[in-house]
């Protein structure tokens, strides 16, 4: 009823500007500060092309996109936080392959282009492989955040090896302070921050090849190598003296609140392991580089595994094909689209053609350097696993683990969840 009235009005109105104003709907996982950032980029797209664009964010993106796709009411473009979910949707025929030539473009214009193409290529409903996901906005995950002035007050040094990091952890605890803030709460996605820990520790205890086999389940999830990495995480998270609020609070504190302990008076913790986007959730007015800073989550000196870096990214896929949707993907290839967000917060890009002086603060450049200085770069493993594991059993398993279950039992559970979907 309303639609017909509107279209009637539109045909009557002879305004030239609206002739091209097709609406492009975008659905993604970002809310709050990040929502404002992505909307700034989409406004740039609207200004550049004349399309109308609207963005909706959801905290339970994973479930909502499924409901919408099943029902045929999907948005034009969906922003997937996990490739695993996108792969599931592609195999069910819910995604449209990206325009021809996109893969070549990514190969030529992204650093390590081939790996980004591989990560966004899935098997479609007809069994043939296509590029379905376009990576835009990358995160580095192997970071530890801290407050330099608190380190100064206490006389701590930034550790450069895992051995030093553990020694620092024990030193802080022995002085009656709490070294770590760890929070796994994330609404419907509670548990995911722990998977980053385990992946980072996998890369620091095993070779990249083992990591790749783990992600594809060539070596089972309950393999001793994996259990070892989980227990490595337990060293930090399951020790009441090492985490703010004690081990029991780990799973129940929200990951967005967790870093606030760094800034409390007196400090509730000194260290926080989290990806590059986390400054969005620091207290207002925090200046990165001064009030808070980060260092690379170090590797063991005793193991010859180089400087592995764990990363992730959001991939943009077309869930309801339209001219506007394709135009949006093409727009994301422009340096401009990247530079808009670079000037805001928490944005990294593998795009080689951008002006890196535009980063809003020098720390982002520092992150990009970590990205470039990596001897091994690996994508977030839980994002590559099938949705039922990577966005399900692995999350809940880690919650159970921090709640007191033994690592072996948790790994067995996750492996059996994986076997049910084979």
């Amino acid at each position: 009823m309303r639609k017909s009235l509107l279209t009637g009005a539109a045909t009557l109105a002879l305004s030239a500007g609206t002739a091209h104003a097709e609406l492009v709907t975008v659905f993604g996982p970002w809310l709050g500060p990040d929502q404002e950032n992505v909307e700034a980029v989409l406004d740039g797209f609207a200004a550049a092309t004349g399309y109308e664009v609207s963005y909706v964010g959801s905290d339970s993106f994973e479930q909502q996109i499924m409901i919408d796709a099943e029902a045929g009411s999907a948005p034009n473009v969906a922003v997937f936080p996990q490739p695993g979910l996108a792969a599931d949707m592609a195999s069910n025929g819910f995604l449209t392959p990206l325009p021809d030539g996109t893969a070549d473009w990514v190969r030529d214009n992204y650093a390590a282009g081939q790996s980004w193409v591989d990560l966004g290529t899935f098997t479609g409903a007809d069994g043939s492989e296509d590029l379905y996901g376009f990576f835009y906005k990358v995160d580095v995950k192997s970071l530890v955040w801290y407050v330099p002035e608190n380190f100064e007050d206490a006389g701590y040094e930034v550790p450069t090896t895992m051995e030093e990091l553990k020694a620092l952890t024990e030193q802080i605890a022995s002085e009656g302070e709490t070294p770590w803030c760890i929070g796994l709460g994330s609404g419907g996605a509670t548990g995911w921050p722990a998977t980053d820990w385990v992946e980072d520790l996998m890369l620091r205890t095993q070779s990249p090849e083992v990591y790749d086999q783990w992600v594809t389940n060539e070596i089972p999830f309950n393999d001793p190598k994996v259990v070892e990495a989980i227990e490595e995480f337990g060293y930090f998270a399951k020790n009441d003296d090492f985490v703010s609020g004690g081990a029991n609070a780990v799973a129940s504190s929200d990951f967005r609140d967790s870093p606030k302990g760094l800034f409390a008076s007196p400090p509730q913790c000194y260290l926080h392991h989290q990806a590059s986007f986390i400054p969005s959730f620091f207290p207002e007015g925090t200046i990165i580089g001064e009030d808070a800073d980060f260092f690379y989550f170090p590797a063991y000196e005793g193991k010859d595994l180089g400087q592995p870096v764990l990363g992730a990214g959001t991939l943009w896929g077309i869930t309801s094909d339209s001219e506007g949707a394709r135009a949006l993907i093409e727009y994301l290839e422009t340096p401009e689209a990247n530079e808009i967000w670079m000037q805001l917060t928490g944005f990294l890009t593998p795009h080689k053609g951008v002006d890196t002086s535009l980063f809003s603060d020098p720390t982002l450049k520092k992150m990009n350097d970590i990205l470039l200085g990596a001897t091994t770069f690996r994508f977030d493993g839980s994002d590559l696993m099938p949705g039922a594991v990577g966005a399900g059993a692995f999350w809940t398993g880690m919650v159970d683990y921090t709640g007191g279950e033994p690592a072996q039992d948790v790994a067995d559970d996750i492996q059996s969840a994986w076997e049910t979907i084979k």
Partner: protein, 335 residues
């Protein structure tokens, strides 16, 4: 404002449509099809009365079948199928049920749902009965009733926020802002507890939310029932020297049994449909999974329609005994 006007329009159209349907269909039935005149008047009246109930019920039956019955069969069908790669489905028989039975999370959800079904309706009805009994005896009972009844008006989401604040826990060296921990520490507790993460017991902390919401409903209905009891039966009992307990259990309870049943059933249904509280507060973690949330998880997170539908069917099977019992009671009352 446009949707608001649309809403008002819909109400008017819908209402007049409904009224018109009932009125006109009755008219047609009585005047056109089976006029109560002429040679067959008697037979016609009887025939019209055969048809009329169905006229009255058609819209409801139509909506019920479409919105509730059809999905049940569709779900049953889906629970016996499995999606194949590349879209489409294939028949797999009971395979989904088998896979579900091997999932430890399913059994956890099963156990918790049983707990919920046992605890919440009983506690809410019990508290409701207690509150009804007590408030009816005092001057400010009306006000007390209002206040206990109030949580009914609060959304599950709102209640989740409210109770999250109650259960809030902060490290021991900070001041507690959750009242439960503040009380716990004041009573000599050693350390603040994260109530929602203590396996098994956290279920009861979640149930408390629903009991808190539903008690008022039980209280109001039961209070009405208690007042509906004829005075003379109670007076007679008092004259016979019955004690307060005896009056309550021997005289009052039998007379309000059917009402208790209604309340119990209503709350049981709400318990079965509930998933928002668990979803918003723990999302089924720390062993608080319940079937409805498990199903939601399987459908929309693991994208496993087969098991999701199978678990939905399990909920159906679970409620069947209550259902049969209810139906039997309803029929006994009809006689």
């Amino acid at each position: 404002m446009n949707p608001m006007l649309q809403g008002i329009g819909i109400i008017l159209i819908g209402l007049s449509g409904c009224i018109a349907y009932f009125y006109l269909s009755n008219l047609i039935l009585d005047r056109v099809l089976f006029p109560a005149r002429g040679p067959n008047a008697g037979r016609n009246i009887n025939r019209a009365n055969l048809w009329r109930p169905w006229l009255f019920m058609f819209p409801a039956i139509f909506a019920l079948s479409l919105y509730l019955a059809y999905p049940v069969f569709e779900t049953l069908r889906l629970s016996l199928m499995q999606r194949v790669a590349g879209g489409g489905y294939e028949w797999v028989g009971l395979n989904n049920y088998q896979r579900m039975m091997q999932d430890s999370k399913f059994w956890e959800a099963m156990r918790n749902n049983m707990l919920w079904l046992l605890v919440v309706p009983a506690a809410a009805t019990g508290f409701g009965l207690l509150a009804a009994q007590l408030t009816d005896r005092i001057k400010w009972g009306g006000l007390a009733k209002s206040l206990i009844f109030m949580p009914m008006a609060i959304s599950f989401v709102g209640a989740a926020v409210i109770w999250k604040l109650v259960y809030d826990a902060r490290p021991i060296d900070l001041e507690q802002i959750g009242i439960l921990n503040a009380i716990y520490l004041a009573l000599g507790g050693a350390a603040p507890q994260t109530w929602l993460t203590i396996p098994f017991w956290n279920n009861f902390f979640l149930m408390a939310v629903l009991i808190w919401i539903q008690t008022g409903f039980a209280m109001v209905i039961l209070s009405a029932a208690l007042r509906g009891i004829p005075e003379e039966t109670i007076e007679a009992a008092i004259v016979d020297g019955a004690s307060g307990w005896q009056i309550f259990f021997k005289i009052k309870m039998p007379q309000i049994r059917s009402t208790i049943l209604v309340v119990w059933t209503t709350i049981t249904i709400i318990v079965l449909k509930i998933f928002d509280i668990v979803f918003a507060m723990t999302n089924g973690q720390w062993e608080t999974q319940v079937l409805a949330n498990y199903m939601f998880d399987k459908l929309f997170r693991a994208n496993d329609w087969g098991v999701g539908s199978a678990s939905a069917m399990v909920i159906m099977i679970l409620v069947t005994p209550i259902l049969v019992w209810n139906v039997r009671n309803a029929r006994r009352e009809m006689r």
